[in-house]
């Protein structure tokens, strides 16, 4: 009997570890599978419950939990699609960036798909002077959420927080022709 309990405990530990490591595996396999991740990652599971509760509350006529809170609404990127689903990016963008960063610095792998450079080039927010704003501006794409969550990032102490003059139009503008977009997607997939 005792040994059975021990085995069950061991198995459950293994399963928990497996679930915890799910995002890392998705990054390694290259293609983030949002559906799978959403189903198994515990934190995303909580988020889903939260959304369901909110829906029920709105149906019941009660004010939503977020009423009166300035929920961040990050501006859309210049391209038509992101490198992964929005939900996935929201939760795991830091893993993708850290993974890419080590590959690039240490091993010289310079693929564009999860490159910070490409994020910066696509998620440009223009200031009143029609020039892209830097991280000093609270409207900067990254700051919109990071200010809200109170998460301080140090990326832009070294990295440029806006594309340089010559590279400010690497992506097709929104609503650009499909061929240009297809070319771009092919390019980023390498």
């Amino acid at each position: 009997m005792k040994s059975r309990i021990v085995i069950i405990l061991l198995l459950s530990t293994v399963v928990i570890f497996w679930l915890e490591a799910a995002p890392a595996r998705a990054v390694e396999s290259g293609l983030p599978k949002t559906g799978t991740i959403g189903a198994v990652a515990p934190s995303t599971g909580e988020a889903k419950i939260c959304t369901a509760e909110l829906r029920q509350m709105s149906r019941s006529g009660k004010p939503p939990l977020t009423a009166g809170v300035n929920v961040p609404r990050p501006p859309k990127g210049k391209g038509e699609v992101c490198v992964a689903d929005t939900d996935y990016m929201r939760r795991f963008h830091m893993d993708l960036l850290a993974h890419q960063r080590d590959d690039t610095v240490r091993e010289g792998i310079r693929t564009k798909r999860f490159s910070l450079k490409e994020c910066i080039a696509c998620h440009v927010v223009n200031g009143p002077d029609a020039q892209p704003v830097t991280y000093d501006n609270p409207n900067h794409f990254c700051r919109v959420c990071h200010d809200y969550t109170g998460v301080k990032i140090r990326c832009f102490e070294c990295h440029a927080s806006r594309p340089p003059l010559g590279l400010r139009s690497t992506l097709p503008p929104q609503g650009g022709d499909a061929k240009a977009l297809a070319r771009y997607l092919k390019d980023v997939e390498q």
């Binding site: 610095v105 240490r106 091993e107 010289g108 792998i109 693929t111 450079k117 102490e157 070294c158 340089p164």
Partner: protein
Amino acid sequence: MSGGRPATGARRGGGNATSSRRDFLRGAGAFTVTLAAGVTLMAYGETPAAARQPGEPVTSKQRWGLLIDVSRCGDGCTACVTACAEENGWKQGGNPLTDAQWIRKVTIRNPKNGVTRSAPVMCQHCADPPCVDVCPTGASFKRADGIVLVDKHTCIGCRYCMLACPYKARSFVHEPLQDQKPYAPRGKGTVESCTMCVHRVDTGRIPACVEACSATGNGAMLFGDLNDPGSEISKRVAQYPTSQIRADLGLDPGVRYRNL
């Protein structure tokens, strides 16, 4: 000293810096012959420096190096320094005491006969880099292809590497920066040095200094794979006596000088 920055001596330990640098460069000359005999190039069969795909990691099949022909290096020419500053965004003009300096022109003069030589000195990309040995965080590292870099994500700015480097090749960033080059991130509190234009090399281009040098017509700098016996740099290193600065330290720098 000519070209480069006259303030270097002042920044790095008073007036002695100039004379000591001269001494150590002169010391290097004595090793020219020994070195030429001692230079060994590892040949990896018949595989030339094949173009790498963007998704593939670097390998030790290559060892990138530079060959600088000092006799062709223009005395007042600083094209390589300017090109490097422009390419990597460390343009001088701020505080001369703290500005970064990835590459500098050093002029050496033999006091006995007055003969002067001028040559660029940058990170020598040693095979056994002392900066990597002393780094407490592993930020200072050597890539598989021999390029010595600083991983600024892990650099804590302790500057041990700057002390360990016998070439004074590294700089510390003292001021907050903005609008860096996207391919050459650099920021306050980290150490940096010549990257052999790693972003260019990874995409099959040559370093900015080499490009600028050949554009002036001097053609004093040559970039290539020291591991590939068929490469131009290997052929020249095999053909002529070349020297490494402070070869006596046994660090085996990837930057070699001719006619020093």
